[in-house]
Amino acid sequence: MSKTLNRRDFIKTSSATTVGVATIASGITLTSFAVNANENPVTKDKRWGMLVDTNKLTEVEIDGMVSACQQENGWGSEVHSTGDQKPTWVKKLKVQDKATGKITSLPLMCQHCEEPPCVDVCPTNASMKREDGIVLVDKHLCIGCRYCMMACPYDARSFVHEELTDQREHMPRGKGTVESCTLCVHKVDNGESPACVASVNSDAVIFGDLYDPKSNINQTLKKVQSAQIRADLDLNTGVRYSGI
């Protein structure tokens, strides 16, 4: 039978074939995604966040978080920097209720904002936010102008004032650049939790994907009262606190 194929028929058959191929192809890519997540760029499907319960978290545990961060990322042993010059990626902060005098301690680090002011002001595009919400400094591009330090409402960033040696293999740091909490991005990319979260043995600090309805952090945030520090600035922080 020699039926001539008109334009409409041709489009129908060819689109059906295309859909078939696409279905198979997407199945294949999905499998390879699952094998090694590190080979693929991070996507907007995830947003990493942290929830700190200040009622459960003790002061000793906060000190433990600070030293775990120092140990992991290699800051805190700068000998030539004085006072304010010393890098601080995470610090223990005490807030007092004026009426009752109740003092609450909390760990304060980069809040990994959705709308980070540090990224807005950076003249070289060194201050950047990854697709999955982690805010970082690209030290290859950082010129050390420190605009981001001035723009950050949380005073979360530090400037390296001295030459450093013997850095951690996964965390390059050097004089003349700005640095801050990376949410232990090297660990997160390998499926682990940040060092400070791992140092706390209770569920006082939870880390996870804010968008994933099955994640502990997502479910807990749906249940408990939580707050963002300086929520009035409308930055939509990734680090949340409950009990303050």
Binding site: E39, E163, D166, R168, E169, D189
Partner: protein, 129 residues
């Protein structure tokens, strides 16, 4: 006149040979053992890695930092791990950017300063985080 030309030619040729007979530099502990085993790590060819390594490293740094791609290919950590040499007396690694160490030998000759190691670690840190 011919004598002059002949002298000039000899001088030119000797100059070429002088460059050809450079001192062989140490490739680094692990790189030496890979070479001795007969395996080839830089499969694209040594001329490619010699010429293109800045581009590879720059490309990888953006991929890793901005997109979270953490493959071993083009990783500076990998360069340092393979091309470091140990001091025979102290059993400690020499920094790769020290004078006459792997990175410096060529960069000294072509007078290019390497900026990687003002931030990046210069010695391998095997077995630890």
């Amino acid at each position: 006149m011919y004598r002059l030309v002949a002298i000039l030619m000899v001088l030119l040729v000797s100059n070429v040979f002088a460059h050809g007979h450079q001192e062989q530099h140490d490739l680094g502990e692990e790189a030496n053992s890979i070479k001795a085993s007969g395996k080839i790590f830089h499969t694209d060819g040594l001329d490619v890695i010699r010429k293109m390594h800045p581009e590879f490293l720059n490309h990888k740094r953006d991929k890793t930092l901005r997109e979270g791609v953490r493959t071993k290919e083009g990783s500076l950590k990998g360069c340092v791990n393979c091309h470091s040499t140990k001091d025979k007396k102290t059993n400690q690694y020499h920094p790769v950017n020290d004078q006459d160490q792997f990175c410096s030998t060529c960069h000294q000759q072509v007078s290019v300063s390497v900026d990687c190691f003002s931030c990046h670690r210069t010695t391998p840190r095997k077995g630890t985080k």
